[in-house]
Homo-oligomer: 216 residues x 2
């Protein structure tokens, strides 16, 4: 039996690969684990059957036999722990890779999501012009610090790891903002990750859902 | 040799236990691991010596021999993995406890921090009165979902775990807002956690730093 994940039946990103199932698809492709996908509508995500899997009514979820998980970070970690390829064998290097996963989700993603949400829900507000530069400043603070740490390395700490997978995933939401391009080593880092065959397979799989949903 | 963590020399929360070193202190007390603390000023946090430990210039960090970690989530997980008491032995239950850690940091904490930051940096802005209810609505969405899941259980999934430690820690930043009190089972959950002897020891230790810093 393959594990089953959930994803949006109709993703608001129109197939750009920004929904959080993409991280899990990518991880499963990196480790070579086949998986099934159950697509859910926004209405279904609010129903008791889905809330039993995910108390916050989001995607993705992960079901494997008796085990039910939610949160892309937890699912990625679970996959990385049970398969070779996403966490180093050395105990200290492994702890550092896990640290980058948490850093991506706790320190880098929140200001990116906050900026992204403002561009959607506050664009018509009187304060948008004043507030957007503040939000972009917070994003730049994090990108600048990350750029300094990455330097001219290919990945954050040795070989590609679950930490890189998560860090690239959270920065992708800046596509089109021009912010990543201010840090050429980060732009190259994202491009390097997106060139991985596992990333391409995952991207194509989620894109096929969009094409099917739009009747293409 | 004990591990060494960093904490604010002069915490902006004035000893209320809201700085992120508190989570790590609490975890170390739960598992009975003695630790040393190095206090850092805001100026020191921006210097190369600290940035070498923490690329985002924050606290806490964790040093144990050759290992250097940052991010409270990663440090808590590292402690929980190496000592008994914060993660269940059963593999599935352990994965679910890790899921609650990620849920606390990725799903519950961001809207809480966003609201908290707005009350500090946007209080004098023309839009504050209009925006605060939106931010509080996002916090209520998460608290309501968490309250529904917790129900009348003592902890989120069986015995007290690192997931509960992190979830309680992120909700404590709502103290004084009145929001937690709208969900009596969450208020009781936080009180139950704060009554743990390990929590009290950790709280007293960080409070002693505040008293010393204020010349008390």
């Amino acid at each position: 039996m393959n594990p089953t994940i959930t994803a949006f039946k109709s993703s608001p990103d129109r197939g750009k690969g920004l929904a959080r199932d993409m991280r899990v698809r990518w991880a499963l492709e990196e480790v070579g684990q086949a998986y099934d996908v159950r697509l859910v509508t926004f209405a279904e995500m609010r129903e008791p059957a889905h809330l039993a899997l995910h108390p916050f009514g989001q995607i993705p979820t992960y079901e494997d036999g008796d085990l039910v998980l939610f949160e892309s970070g937890a699912i990625l970690f679970h996959i990385a722990e049970r398969h070779a390829g996403l966490l180093p064998a050395d105990a200290n290097a492994r702890a550092r890779a896990v640290t980058w996963m948490f850093a991506a989700l706790s320190t880098v993603e929140p200001p990116i999501v906050e900026r992204s949400m403002a561009t959607i829900v506050e664009r018509d507000k009187s304060w948008y012009e004043e507030r957007l530069p503040v939000l972009e400043g917070r994003v730049r603070d994090r990108l600048g610090q990350l750029s300094n740490r990455l330097g001219d390395a290919d990945w954050l700490d040795g070989a590609f790891s679950a930490g890189d997978l998560m860090m690239v995933s959270v920065m992708q939401r800046l596509a089109g903002s021009g912010l990543v391009e201010e840090y050429p080593n980060l732009a190259a880092y994202i491009a390097r990750a997106e060139a991985r065959p596992a990333y391409r397979r995952a991207f194509d799989a989620q894109y096929a859902v969009f094409v099917a949903a739009s009747g293409g």
